[in-house]
């Protein structure tokens, strides 16, 4: 049988992560696309780190940071009076960080491709920076923004290592689909594992096929663009 509870946790996690990275990732990406700052390579390296680091490394640092004696854990306890580690919020923070490059890089590639003369026209017509961004840059970058959102959503659904480290596999809270499948396999419940795995496989396929089909997008522009 399909573990719907875990599917629910994963979908909620992926949707929230995507929403947060849309809001947080766009300004970072725009800055990366336009800046001439000497700090740019450093910022790019930081954004790309989760692509290179084993998820266990990120998970390990987060686990310690979010514990009751860690900086994030004690900050959280001060603000909310609750515990951060092994909560849905902890998982959300971890997946926002681990998905950062999947959102920021496609956003940034799209923003950088916007013709600068378009921006200058907007500025000379009296539009402010933020208004130009929202009315000119964003509409011209819709493909890249959607690509980043789909990649972020898909990557969060598929995340395993970080979740294993910081999640604790608590049903309805931090047990995501990938963790639930791992747990079913360990229980030698192969029918349970394969039902959930098949649902994940079909769901991922349908989402990707719809995205490609409806938008005619190039999902991985740096691979398909010559």
């Amino acid at each position: 049988m399909i573990d719907w509870q875990a599917v629910g946790v994963s979908v909620r996690l992926a949707a929230t992560t995507t929403a947060i990275l849309l809001v947080v990732g766009m300004p970072i990406a725009y800055w990366l696309a336009r800046t001439k700052s000497p700090w740019r390579p450093i910022a790019e390296a930081v954004v790309a780190l989760p692509l290179v680091l084993p998820p266990t490394v990120l998970g390990f640092y987060l686990l310690v940071a979010m514990g009751p004696n860690g900086p994030l854990g004690s900050l959280w306890a001060g603000a909310t009076g609750g515990r951060l580690a092994f909560s849905f919020e902890a998982l959300l923070l971890a997946s926002v960080l681990s998905s950062l490059p999947f959102a920021v890089q496609p956003f940034s590639v799209a923003f950088a491709a916007v013709d600068r003369s378009m921006l200058e026209v907007s500025w000379t017509l009296g539009r402010s920076g933020p208004a130009t961004f929202l009315r000119v840059v964003v509409p011209l970058s819709v493909g890249g923004i959607l690509t980043g959102m789909v990649l972020t959503f898909a990557h969060t659904i598929g995340e395993f290592g970080v979740v294993l480290m910081v999640g604790g596999s608590i049903p309805g809270e931090t047990r995501t689909v990938s963790i639930a499948i791992y747990d079913r396999v360990q229980a030698l419940d192969y029918s349970g594992a394969s039902a959930t795995a098949l649902a994940l496989l079909l769901g991922s396929f349908v989402v990707l096929a719809l995205t490609y089909g409806l938008r005619g997008l190039t999902i991985v522009p740096w691979l398909t663009r010559r």
């Binding site: 686990l63 979010m66 514990g67 860690g70 854990g73 909560s87 604790g168 608590i170 360990q186 229980a187």
Partner: protein, 247 residues
């Protein structure tokens, strides 16, 4: 099937337990019995390596009762102030077996651990001795039998003892040293043969449980622990091959 508690669990959580991987099958039966008698108090189990749970609980994981495969872990939690001093209760003593799939040509019953150095055995699955008590027991038993040097290159390590069992059950390892309680589980019982490893060849797998200070409903948590320690709990644990501490 053992998955029953996953999707049917009531949304209000009464008692959330962290249970050593060797307990999985016995615990599922215990929880079913508990729910029959106490339908209002949902018990939600998470299974894994005792050492991993120890690290997670130390970092604030929200569990109410911790059933460890090594009684030292809950005692260490007492020292850290995460459980009441002296409240850890022994609930069972675990046993290890050498397990081979039904199709294996190895006569495991006759040869025991010595069979593992046979060239026909290419890989041997055990739990990770770094943090899983059953992995430590497997390594000690191999050393005691004088087989460790021959078997060491063949070892594959599961994160916990049920992953080690999964490695050998699925045919990816030729033999495994696993918990008797898992060898007796419905999912494994008819799929292989096992030989019990002499209990004096490894340090006693004394298992202990404790109610954590952070428990949301301490009286319900304590009641579930007492249930496992009581006559019904002992009957189930005995059926899964655990040696019981004096009641």
């Amino acid at each position: 099937m053992a998955a029953a508690s996953n999707s049917d669990a009531p949304t209000t959580v009464g008692v959330r337990i962290a249970a050593a991987a060797d307990l999985r099958y016995a615990m599922e039966q215990l929880i079913d019995l508990w729910h029959l008698a106490n339908p209002g108090v949902a018990v939600e189990p998470v299974y894994g390596s005792s050492g991993t749970f120890f690290a997670q609980i130390s970092e604030g994981a929200p569990f109410d009762v911790y059933f460890s495969a090594d009684i030292q872990f809950p005692r260490d939690l007492e020292l850290k102030g995460l459980a009441e001093s002296g409240s850890t209760q022994p609930y069972a003593i675990g046993r290890i077996v050498v397990w081979v799939p039904e199709a294996s040509t190895i006569d495991i019953q006759a040869r025991g651990l010595a069979a593992l150095s046979d060239p026909a055995v290419k890989t041997v699955a055990i739990a990770n001795p770094e943090h899983a008590p059953y992995g430590r027991a497997a390594v000690s038993a191999l050393e005691m039998a004088g087989e460790y040097d021959a078997v060491e290159p063949k070892l594959v390590l599961g994160e916990n003892v049920s992953q080690a069992a999964q490695f050998v059950e699925s045919g990816n390892a030729d033999a495994g040293i696993i918990a008797l309680s898992i060898a007796l589980a419905p999912a494994l019982k008819d799929k292989g043969r096992y030989a019990i490893v002499p209990i004096d060849s490894y340090p006693r797998l004394e298992q202990g449980a404790v109610v954590l200070n952070a428990a949301g409903d301490p009286s319900a948590a304590q009641a579930f622990l007492e249930f496992v320690l009581g006559p019904e709990g002992r009957t189930v644990l005995d059926r899964f091959g655990f040696i019981l501490p004096p009641s």
